[in-house]
């Protein structure tokens, strides 16, 4: 019995493997019951999307959104075309709200500060703690962000009943403009701008396409003003010390030094007054100014200033205030100067509307500073923070953290922990905006209700803040008309208004039906304009229009600007945005310091050299990024980086420039002064590769993004035809049938396409992209990523050159000069799969993973792909991206809930690319065939088109002569990238940018 398995060994093996199996099988969780989908919830049809109209709450613009849900999960955010403000557009930040909804770092349960930091607790205990803490507290302080009107009403009532105080802090709110409007017109509201009806827009640094005002709405209006659809093209002049994305869209740039806005605006106004314009009570002020004084302040020629001023008066124009990035110690004065210029140029009441309306409390820095002082002084027994993050977003020197720490009872409502809520004694998981009710009044005459798009994500035991306040209010003996939830409160607050005005705004029927209709459309507008003011009032406040003080040593003025991706940093915890190439710098995942090439040369720096940026208040280290669009005496850095307690996707990426700033405000308005100090740059000697997708910003004579001068419009087509003759001549030499690539509807199917499965009676899907309308805002990139389950890859992979975006915005510099006033010509080119008719990727695939569909799409069968990457090599547009790893496996729960069930999630080792949102084409096709009809023009809208605020993208069947896209394809501006060179016959038809200046439009 010495051989074989002994009984003892057998038992040992049995025991070990049995233990392993039982350990693996053991779980502290209960066995979940499986519930079949026999009786589905009423409003859910498996496989069919439900859309909910709501309000975007990523910034205070209040755009209308539609949230697409599948089986109860929100999977996509698109613009609401019925919303009067955003009219169908959305921005990257808006789309990315999905990622904060499914943020794996959301607060799971209420938490109380214990010995070892925050510890989980239950809602019952948390409510007890909240009520108990607030009850006894003296003068409780509420610090919030900008709230919707009804929620604000509730919070104000709650605070008033407690005998407390409320402070609003939103670094992106233009307090200075509001104060200037109050001074100039006596109206405590932000002006409403009508860009669409102006012929000349002058911006003193206001980034209205990115962060200032209502970027989506202004982008749409700007495209209308600046496009050539209506026969003429407006002009856009940018005056500022750095070209933001908005500035990059300008026709001309006068690179004025920071702080000179007031002097330049007043000088221009004075020039007009000299020519006979009326400046009302500001005539005295203007008498001290002139075009010459403006030119001196701007460092340019007086003739240029005078000419621009004359243009302002001669066409319907608009002058936009310095905005946030230029905000300094004299911000209200600068804004006032700009408003005076608008009034003198005759714009007020025309394109600039000053309407008396109910406006939510603005969020200035001054009130926060005051709150900090009173917190340190011990005058608050309790502090509640919600929807704002002053510990991060206020200058570190303001001492918010210390003051906050000193308060006895600190409560934070937080969806995900941030720097401020991490310090709280009680953290209450607040529901995400997509899980809560809200309403908004984005501008006078528009009212919108935001409804939750889904039940709260179960990973977080969250409750809407307003519900918690109502509940706490009830326990504290406050009265809210019996409302137990904010939904009741909201509908009660609306009931009377709807009854009185329902018919006027198109809402009829019984109250319930009106309410339903309001929720369905998401927004209503009514056009009985509130009282309007158009005449200037004398300034009751003594303001200095001199160049504001900038403290500190060094010869570079520090410019801190809100990030177009992260705002003040609120959106920094979203990997889509972290990996979205910044629209200006095209950098991802980390911060950078923008310096002019001359500055770089004098310091011996190149892009990627890590520099130490030092002010009297702090220092940061970040790689330099050499940018021709910034004045040599200015150094700029974006907000939003360097989080320390904002979740895994934000922490440690980049640096927070707020540590560099002194805690100073514009005394008149309380606006935070972002241009307030000088800085010195010291090379550290270190170098790091910057995470970018930019290969070259020079077209290198390839005419990838050509332009046509406005004057040449009308005979641009002749030149184009000449090119084709050359091509056809060449093709005939080889005995090759010349290809009609004119792109007209009647040309399809193109020669060569009549073989095989390319049938004649199928549509030919095509896209037109108007480069004259594209502002480079990159909303399409994020929308595409959300729609098509495109993973993010992280900084290291980006550094290796492996981004996964199906769509990118190429940015080519043609004319940028920061040293003197002149033309700006920066071309944006959204590049996506061109769905070539004669696609180079198709013949080289050994297994037919890249193939041509009968309706002319370049299909990509992920399951068939072996991963030879030959197709990507052979793609001249380089739009194919490869799954080097299983990137989607790295996406944590519950972010995977966002996956679009209509789109395959790709695995390691396969190639992928833009599909023209084929799932939407098939969806529309199925619907059409069920209804026994053809797909209607405009029925298929890819995610990029649907998100585009400016309407630059049009999609449709080019073989349908009546379709919108077929009309555009025949336009004289239309061209196809590289088609003349390699005869790819792309389905993406670009329309050349139109410039006011002459361009070298032919062969370079």
């Amino acid at each position: 019995m010495s051989d074989g398995l002994k009984r003892r060994d057998f038992l040992k093996v049995l025991g070990v493997s049995g233990a392993g199996a039982s350990i693996a099988g053991c779980s502290t969780q209960e066995v979940e019951r499986l519930i079949p989908y026999v009786v589905p919830p009423e409003d859910i049809t498996p496989g069919v999307a439900t859309w909910y109209a709501s309000v975007c709450q990523e910034c205070s613009a209040g755009c209308g959104i539609r949230v697409r849900t599948r089986e109860g999960r929100a999977v996509m955010i698109e613009g609401n075309p019925e919303h009067p403000v955003s009219a169908g557009g959305v921005c990257s930040r808006g789309v990315s709200a999905l990622q904060s909804l499914y943020d794996p770092d959301r607060v799971a349960t209420p938490m109380r500060m214990g010995q070892s930091g925050l510890e989980g607790t239950t809602w019952d205990e948390a409510m007890q703690a909240l009520v108990g803490g607030l009850q006894g507290a003296a003068n409780p302080l509420f610090i919030t962000g900008i709230l919707g009107p009804t929620e604000e009403l509730l919070v104000n009532q709650f605070v008033a009943a407690l005998g407390g105080r409320r402070v609003v802090f939103d670094p992106l709110y233009d307090t200075a403009l509001r104060e200037a409007t109050r001074i100039a017109f006596g109206v405590d509201a932000l002006p409403h701008y009508d860009l669409a009806n102006s012929g000349l827009v002058v911006s003193f640094g206001a980034d209205f396409l990115e962060t200032w005002g209502s970027p989506v709405a202004m982008g749409r209006q700007f495209a209308h003003m600046h496009g050539v659809d209506h026969g003429e093209k407006g002009r856009f002049v940018f005056l500022g010390s750095r070209l933001s994305l908005t500035g990059q869209n300008a026709d001309e740039w006068i690179p004025i030094p920071p702080g000179s806005e007031a002097a330049v605006a007043l000088g221009m106004a004075a020039h007009l007054v000299q020519a006979g314009a009326d400046a009302g009570p500001y005539a005295d002020l203007l008498s001290a100014h002139s075009a010459e004084s403006a030119a001196q302040a701007a460092g340019t020629e007086a003739t240029a200033i005078a000419a621009l001023a004359n243009d302002l008066a001669s066409v319907p124009s608009i002058v936009l205030g310095p905005g946030l990035a230029g905000s300094h110690r004299g911000a209200a004065a600068a804004n006032l100067a700009v408003l005076v210029l608008n009034a003198v140029a005759g714009n007020v009441g025309q394109t600039v509307r000053i309407q008396q309306t109910q406006t939510p409390t603005g969020g200035g820095f001054g009130s926060l500073l005051e709150a900090i002082r009173s917190m340190s002084g011990g005058s608050h027994g309790a502090v509640v923070v919600a929807g704002t993050n002053p510990a991060y977003a206020a200058p570190a020197g303001a001492g918010f953290a210390e003051a906050f720490q000193s308060v006895g009872f600190k409560v934070a409502f937080a969806s995900a922990l941030d720097e401020t809520s991490a310090m709280a004694d009680l953290v209450l998981p607040a529901s995400h905006p997509l899980e809560s009710w809200t309403d908004s009044m984005p501008r006078p005459g528009v009212y919108a209700v935001g409804q939750p798009a889904m039940r709260p994500v179960p990973h977080s035991d969250s409750r809407p803040m307003a519900d918690v306040l109502l509940q706490a209010g009830a326990q504290l003996g406050q009265d809210y008309g019996g409302a137990t939830s904010f939904r009741d409160f909201l509908s009660q607050a609306n009931a009377a208004w709807l009854a009185a005005n329902g018919a006027r705004v198109g809402l009829t029927g019984d109250p319930a039906a009106r309410w339903r209709e309001l929720l369905r459309t998401g927004a209503v507008s009514y056009d009985d304009p509130p009282p309007e003011v158009s005449s200037l009032q004398p300034s009751a406040t003594a303001l200095s229009f001199d160049s504001p003080a900038v403290d500190g040593a060094g010869d570079l003025t520090l410019l801190v600007y809100p990030s177009s991706r992260f705002g003040d940093g609120t959106q920094a915890n979203r990997p889509w945005l972290q990996e979205l190439p910044d629209p200006v710098s095209k950098l991802m995942w980390h911060s950078w310091v923008e310096i002019h090439p001359d500055t770089a040369e004098s310091l011996g720096l190149r892009t990627g050299d890590v520099v130490r940026l030092t002010t009297d208040h702090g220092e940061v280290e970040a790689p330099a990024w050499v940018y021709p669009g910034i004045r040599p005496d200015v150094v700029a850095i974006a907000m939003g980086g360097g989080h320390t307690a904002y979740g895994r996707f934000a922490n440690g990426n980049g640096v927070n420039p707020m540590v560099l700033l002194p805690p100073v405000q514009d005394d008149a308005s309380g606006a935070m002064a972002l241009v307030s100090t000088r800085a010195t740059l010291t090379p550290t000697g270190a170098w790091r590769r910057v995470a970018t997708t930019e290969g070259s910003s020079d077209q290198d004579q390839r005419n990838i993004a050509p332009a046509v001068a406005l004057a040449a419009l009308g005979h641009a087509a002749e030149e184009e035809a000449g090119h084709h003759e050359q091509l056809q001549e060449l093709q005939e030499i080889g005995g090759f049938k010349p290809s009609e690539t004119e792109g007209r509807a009647e040309d399809y199917p193109l020669p060569g396409a009549e073989y095989g499965d390319y049938t004649r009676d199928q549509p030919r899907w095509a896209m037109s992209i108007d480069l004259d309308k594209c502002t480079g805002c990159s909303a399409c990139v994020t929308a595409c990523q959300a729609e098509n389950n495109v993973p993010w890859v992280g900084e290291n992979q980006i550094l290796m050159g492996r981004d996964m975006h199906w769509m990118r915005i190429e940015r080519y510099y043609e004319a940028v000069d920061a040293t003197h006033a002149g033309t700006v010509d920066i071309r944006f080119l959204p590049m996506l799969c061109q769905h070539c008719n004669n696609a180079p990727c198709e013949p080289v695939c050994p297994v037919f993973a890249a193939y041509h569909t009968p309706d002319g799409l370049n299909g990509q069968a992920y399951n068939r792909c072996v991963g030879t990457r030959y197709c990507a090599n052979n793609c001249p547009y380089k739009v194919r991206v490869f799954n080097w790893y299983s990137y989607t496996d790295l996406i944590p729960e519950p972010m995977t809930w966002q996956f679009n069930p209509d789109v395959t999630v790709r695995e390691n080792g396969v190639m992928e690319k833009c599909s023209f949102c084929v799932q939407r084409i098939r969806d529309a096709g199925n619907r059409a065939s069920v209804e026994g009809r053809d797909i209607r023009d405009g029925e298929v809208r890819p995610a990029c088109q649907n998100s585009c605020p400016t309407g630059a993208i049009v999609f449709g069947n080019v073989r349908d002569t009546s379709s919108a896209v077929a009309g555009l394809v025949g336009d004289e501006r239309t061209y196809r990238v590289l088609d003349e060179l390699i005869n790819t016959q792309p389905a993406v038809h670009y329309m050349k940018k139109v410039t006011h200046h002459e361009v070298d439009s032919g062969e370079h």
Binding site: P843, P846, R869, Y885
Partner: protein, 457 residues
């Protein structure tokens, strides 16, 4: 006869003046198959370790993803395809020497062709792994093979990669059969001397060869037919490999001269590799009498010829890029010479274009040491030639925005070095198991033993 022989010897026309008798050949060549020395074992251990690194690296890549390489967008092909083309190129000279030179009755091939053929087979075995290493989903690589399946899915016969599958597998099959056929008489010779396990091995592999007249008759016929069959493959394989590039539209790849240019390059690198391998073999195994300076000089001449063709091709590419007038084409070649990978280009030009020009001198051609050094240069240069063509062209294509750089990773370097060890592993086994010089063919060119005539001493 003896006078004829002495006359040949006097004129220096005798291929192997130092080999006297048939029995010497058997003795000298089969001696190599005896017990290996310390040096061999050291080399073999190194090779074995390298093979371990090779498979470990590959395994890592399969488990974690192709992302462990440095490949990216736009450079989707890098060290793997470079090394693939390199080894396919190496594989060329074997068949050239054995088949083409056999058909042309070149008198100097006999002593060299066995090693060259072995090198061919092992180089194809190495090269064939690289497409598998390279693809993203190796577990689906068999989809490139046309096999009947229920879904009626066939590979895309328009894709050069499918042609590649055929070209490489055909080449491997034919050259392996040709190699084996040629060794049969020698295996029999080895069998007759071997003992024990070795004898069993040779008994099986020699297929009962007895050396009868009939056998020799069939053998010669089969050999000449296979030689004729293998000859077009020498030209076709590398032409097809070149079409992987030439059929694309990548500037720097899309050119009609690629097929002849690649074939010349392949022969160039193959002959260089034969020199690199033959010099140490000759020294360590004492085969000086068989691999004479004459043989090396002949190979050097072949190198010189192909080097000139390759240099001409380089210059033609530059000229045509300029002559095309197309910015992407011109940009690609400007980038090749002065862009981020300028060093690779200049290594290539120096090693392949300039260094071989020394072979114009007879003294260099006849110096074994110089040839060995030059052949190493050529090997390095030819690897860089493929690197330059693949990587620099991909990094700088049509879209300026999409230009990008590629840096090979540790895993890729492991696989590159491992591939040399994998090749070396087989070649070292070959030197101990198969007669490295063709015994039978050797006897065809040394003077036959004559009855009654004394051997020249």
């Amino acid at each position: 006869m003896a006078t004829a022989e002495s006359e040949l010897r006097r004129r220096g026309a005798l291929p192997h003046p130092d080999v006297g008798k048939y029995s010497d050949v058997n003795r000298d060549v089969l001696k190599v198959l005896s017990r290996p020395g310390k040096g061999w074992w050291i080399l073999f251990s190194i090779a074995l370790a390298g093979v371990g690194i090779f498979f470990l690296s590959w395994f890592t890549q399969i488990v974690r993803g192709i992302g462990v390489s440095g490949l990216n967008a736009p450079v989707g092909w890098g060290v793997y395809i470079t090394t693939f083309v390199f080894w396919v190129g190496i594989a060329h000279s074997g068949t050239l020497i054995s088949a083409i030179l056999f058909l042309f009755r070149a008198p100097w091939r006999q002593s060299i062709y066995r090693a060259a053929e072995a090198m061919t087979v092992f180089a194809v075995m190495t090269a064939g792994l690289f497409p598998l290493i390279h693809v993203g989903r190796v577990w689906h690589a068999y989809w490139l093979v046309p096999y009947p399946n229920s879904r009626f899915l066939w590979p895309n016969f328009r894709s050069p990669l499918v042609w590649d599958v055929f070209a490489v597998t055909t080449y491997f099959t034919v050259s392996a059969v040709f190699f084996y056929l040629g060794t049969i008489p020698d295996l029999a010779a080895a069998r007759d001397q071997a003992r024990g396990l070795r004898k069993k091995f040779y008994q099986v592999t020699a297929l009962g060869w007895r050396g009868t007249d009939r056998e020799w008759h069939h053998f010669s016929k089969a050999y000449i037919y296979l030689a004729a069959l293998a000859t077009p493959l020498v030209l076709s394989v590398h032409s097809v490999v070149s079409w992987d590039f030439a059929m694309s539209i990548v500037p720097g790849w899309h050119t009609t001269i690629f097929a002849p240019y690649f074939v010349a390059g392949a022969i160039f690198s193959g002959v260089a590799m034969v020199i690199t391998l033959a010099v140490p073999m000759r020294k360590f195994f004492g085969l000086e009498a068989y691999l004479t300076v004459k043989h090396f000089e002949a190979m050097a001449k072949l190198c010189l010829l192909t080097a000139t063709i390759v240099l001409y091709a380089y210059l033609t590419e530059y000229f045509l890029a300029w002559y095309s007038g197309e910015p992407p084409e011109r940009g690609s070649f400007w980038n090749r010479a002065f862009g981020s990978y300028w060093w690779a280009n200049w290594i290539m030009l120096t090693c392949n274009g300039l260094v071989p020009l020394m072979l114009w001198f007879k003294r260099v051609r006849r110096s074994i040491a110089a040839l060995f050094v030059i052949s190493i240069f050529i090997n390095i240069g030819m690897w860089f030639e493929r690197f330059v063509i693949i990587v620099t062209s991909l990094s700088h294509e049509y879209e300026p925005w999409a230009w990008g750089l590629y840096r090979p990773s540790v895993v890729e370097m492991g696989i590159l070095l491992g591939s040399f060890c994998w090749f070396g592993f087989w070649f070292l086994l070959f030197t101990r198991l198969l007669p490295p010089v063709a015994i039978a063919e050797m006897k065809e060119v040394i003077p036959p033993p004559m009855r009654g005539v004394k051997e020249a001493s």
